[in-house]
């Protein structure tokens, strides 16, 4: 009988048979990365290259001028761009910290504690994975108006904290921790809070990293709060500033393009860096992401 000819998932070393996968994976990857390479190149182009005709893809004489322009620029109402960036950073850091805290707490309760209505509530959360915030923009707006959050800094933060996928991933991950570990800690007289803080949290670092990335991506890129709930220019975020640039550049205007290109890079780069640092943790969490 011939030796096993079937698939070799997760091969340890290179083999000729893998070439056929590279044959389409590499061209496709190159194609997909092009717009991103383009952002990098465009951001460093001096003004004559930005408007060179015919347009060139790669930068020839890179310059930081676009970034200098961006940071010295102010928008129409006199708000410096750095203010938007500062708001974005503050909002993002607070949202990430609170999402992780609330998500791990609720995930622990759903996974390891007993209470009434547990399965129903988790079921509701699973259905809410399908929730599309854009669909209920208007009732959300009315609610936020009614509780007086319009024009408040918190309106960036509070809606972003309700993240069903965060709780979902946390719970699935905490399920992997054996109950015996918690029982043993209880025997030693540890409180639930102590178990949560000293045992659970250190064990679920991969899930924390993953939820951190997801919440980062959603809040860093979000324009909803700035567009709808905030009138005070000084409280708006960088992604909002970005969206105003998007409408300005649609006519390929000379003034904004360099600034817009460097701003796109600033929007994208933190996503990439954080993901590269945490990617192995993310893959570890995703192994437990299944819906059963």
């Amino acid at each position: 009988m011939a030796s096993f000819q079937g698939t070799k998932i997760n091969p340890t070393k290179f083999d000729k048979s893998q070439l056929k996968f590279y044959a389409y994976l590499i061209p496709l990857a190159l194609f997909m990365i092009m717009p991103i390479v383009y952002i990098f190149n465009h951001a460093f182009k001096p003004i004559d290259e930005l408007f060179a005709f015919p347009p060139r893809f790669f930068v020839e004489k890179p310059t930081f001028q676009n970034f200098i322009d961006l940071f010295t620029a102010t928008n129409d109402s006199g708000i410096p761009i750095s203010r938007y960036l500062f708001n974005s950073v503050v909002v993002t850091v607070i949202v990430m910290a609170l999402t992780i805290l609330f998500g791990t707490m609720a995930g622990y309760a759903f996974s390891k504690l007993r209470f009434k209505g547990k399965s129903v509530l988790f079921e509701i959360n699973t259905v809410a994975l399908m929730f599309v915030p854009a669909a209920v923009t208007i009732p959300r707006y009315l609610f936020i108006e009614n509780i007086g959050l319009i024009n408040s800094f918190w309106v960036h933060i509070l809606p972003a904290l309700a993240m069903p996928i965060g709780l979902f991933l946390m719970k699935q991950f905490i399920d992997q921790i054996p109950d015996s570990l918690i029982e043993a800690a209880k025997m030693d007289g540890a409180s639930h809070f102590k178990i949560f803080w000293k045992i659970i949290l250190p064990l679920i670092k991969p899930a924390i990293a993953t939820v951190a990335i997801l919440s980062f991506q959603s809040v860093w890129n979000s324009v909803e709060a700035s567009t709808l709930y905030i009138n005070d220019e000084g409280l708006k975020t960088f992604s909002f500033y970005m969206s105003t640039l998007a409408s300005q550049t649609s006519g390929n205007t000379v003034a904004g393009q360099g600034i817009a290109a460097s701003a796109s890079l600033i929007m994208f780069l933190p996503n990439l860096i954080i993901f590269i640092i945490l990617q192995s943790q993310v893959m570890n969490t995703m192994a437990h992401s299944g819906i059963k």
Binding site: P35, F51, T137, P164, H192
Partner: protein, 298 residues
């Protein structure tokens, strides 16, 4: 004794309350009030007045734009981007699992990275690439290759806008679901494959259908739900690309834009809420199909 049991019962709620409270405020209440508002006439100034099903009736019978453009657009967009992006995600995840770890990590990062870009940041890039004059990257390339003679107004032409929206969304659709499926494929035990081949599986295709997919159903379902949500979430792309709501000749008008049009431009909140409810139902139905396909049958 009684005291103790009561204390114990409160602990879970202590852990749960921050999340549940926010969940209630920003997900449950908006959905419930969308349903309630959908049965009213509400212009955001006077109090809502109950009008029964008239919003829904109008939506189906009177709203020409909705029936002629918005609904077909939404379904076309969703049916191509949803299943298309999903199958592509699975196929790429499966292919990546067949190569060695170093290359896989690099390629997976590249394929995942478009999903990290936000619609807003990329809208700037796309408007430059698809710019309508001959200095636009695509126009310039096509003119030099001799495919076209005159520059094309990509983002303002009804016949191209939808195609570009679909292409751009597919480009960024290898997100969390893709990562979940990749780790799903990688976690299948090799012995299952060996057993499958002993039982008579003959080729790679049979292997995928009979072993790979059934072994990673939970990840397949998670990926499917993510695909559905991302598809309907991506609704704003047409407005971002063309820079106008409504989009040129309603070519890229999706339900999300229609809601904004009625809610924030015409202030017909009750009507907008009815569209929201229809959209949420649509998402739900699509997800239910995924559940049927990959959920636990028993």
């Amino acid at each position: 004794m009684k005291m103790k049991s009561r204390r114990l019962n409160l602990t879970p709620w202590g852990f749960l309350s921050p999340y549940l409270l926010l969940f209630l405020c920003f997900i449950v209440i908006p959905v419930v009030s969308a349903i309630a508002l959908s049965f009213t006439y509400f212009n955001a100034i006077e109090a809502p007045t109950f009008t029964g099903l008239s919003n829904y009736v109008n939506l189906i019978t009177q709203d020409q734009v909705f029936m002629q453009y918005v609904l077909p657009n939404t379904l076309t967009f969703a049916l191509i981007v949803g299943p298309g992006g999903y199958i592509l995600s699975f196929f790429l995840a499966w292919s990546l699992a067949q190569v060695t770890k170093k290359m896989r990590t690099v390629l997976a990062l590249i394929i995942y990275s478009p999903s990290m870009t936000s619609g807003i940041a990329m809208a700037v890039v796309w408007t430059i690439i698809f710019s309508g004059d001959e200095a636009g990257y695509l126009n310039s390339l096509l003119i030099r290759m001799g495919v076209i003679l005159e520059p094309i107004q990509w983002l303002q032409s009804p016949q191209y806008l939808m195609i570009i929206m679909i292409a751009v969304t597919l480009w960024g659709s290898m997100g969390v679901g893709f990562l979940a499926m990749l780790s799903g494929v990688l976690n299948i035990d090799n012995e299952i494959y060996e057993a499958g081949y002993i039982d008579g599986i003959k080729n790679r295709f049979q292997e995928i259908i009979y072993i790979t997919i059934p072994s990673m159903k939970p990840q397949m379902l998670f990926g499917a739900v993510m695909a559905v949500v991302n598809t309907f979430q991506a609704g704003a792309i047409g407005v971002q690309l063309s820079g106008a709501n409504p989009t040129p000749q309603y070519a890229g008008q999706l339900m999300v834009n229609h809601i904004d049009d009625y809610g924030f431009i015409r202030y017909e909140m009750g009507y907008a809420a009815a569209i929201s409810v229809v959209l949420l139902l649509l998402v739900y139905v699509f997800s239910k199909v995924a559940w049927r396909l990959f959920g636990d049958k028993d």
